[in-house]
Amino acid sequence: MNEPAQRIEVASDQDVVRVRQLVRTLAVAVKLSLVDQTKLVTAASELARNTLVYGGGGWVEVAQTDNGRRKGIRIVFSDQGPGIADLDLAFTDGYTSGGGLGLGLSGARRLVDEFDIVTAAGEGTTITVTKWCR
């Protein structure tokens, strides 16, 4: 019953903008509240930029999802970059390895309902986030 996922290859700045626009369109389609739309698009923007900057590019897949009771949006961010060796450190507010504000990972996690990360040094990173309608 889930809609097919839409995939965007992330290789440049413009692709990050395209990810934001796609997420926004789907978030509106499942009727997320305005604040939840904003939170989800912001999280997607942070994570897609991570994919580009730290992962050296990759892809993002956005899909509608349904757990029987509620609808939602699920987004997968995947790259084949260097991966994250120390997850605890990466989730610390203010920690950054790339000259940012260090809010990307931990901040994005606070903006979504479900956050799942699979990574290891040298094996790339795949992050899956979900936001449910209230």
Binding site: Q21, V35, T42, L103, G107, R110, L111
Partner: protein, 139 residues
């Protein structure tokens, strides 16, 4: 690449961001604005973000950098028109935009700049650079 236009209104530079900015566009704006402040000698910058439906950490950082650069060039920056949903998201994200002044809309932003300038000049009364054009405070 698109560019964000910078308008000069009296002694103020007005930047109204109407597009979903790529990171490069944001960096370009940062450069353009620094150039314009020096070229025009303006002491106030208003950045209107009422059309932005999100502000992520990159845009947040760009705004903070712009405010910092402007300060060094003796101009005050006010960010105006942030949407409620954006503000709520920024709080959750943990981004507090330190060092950035904000106002609800362009008009209140202009009031704020005028007040700042007025106070600065009060303090600078006997200062050396009193020859600059005075900004008329709001009535």
């Amino acid at each position: 690449m698109e560019r964000v236009p910078i308008l000069k209104i009296g002694a103020i530079l007005l930047v109204s961001i109407q597009i979903d900015m790529e990171d490069q566009v944001a960096l370009q704006l940062q450069e353009d604005l620094a150039d314009r402040i020096v070229a025009t000698g303006c002491h106030g910058v208003i950045i209107d973000i009422s059309a932005l439906d999100i502000v992520d950490s990159f845009v947040g950082r760009t705004l903070a950098t712009i405010a910092g650069i402007s300060k060094v060039l003796d101009a005050d920056t006010v960010v105006v028109g942030m949407r409620p949903a954006v503000a709520i998201t920024l709080v959750e994200l943990g981004l507090s935009l330190p060092g950035i002044r904000t106002a609800l809309n362009v008009e209140l932003g202009m009031d704020l700049l005028a007040r700042e300038r007025f106070q600065d000049e009060d303090e600078d009364e006997d200062g050396p650079d009193n020859a600059e054009t005075p900004v008329v405070p709001a009535p």
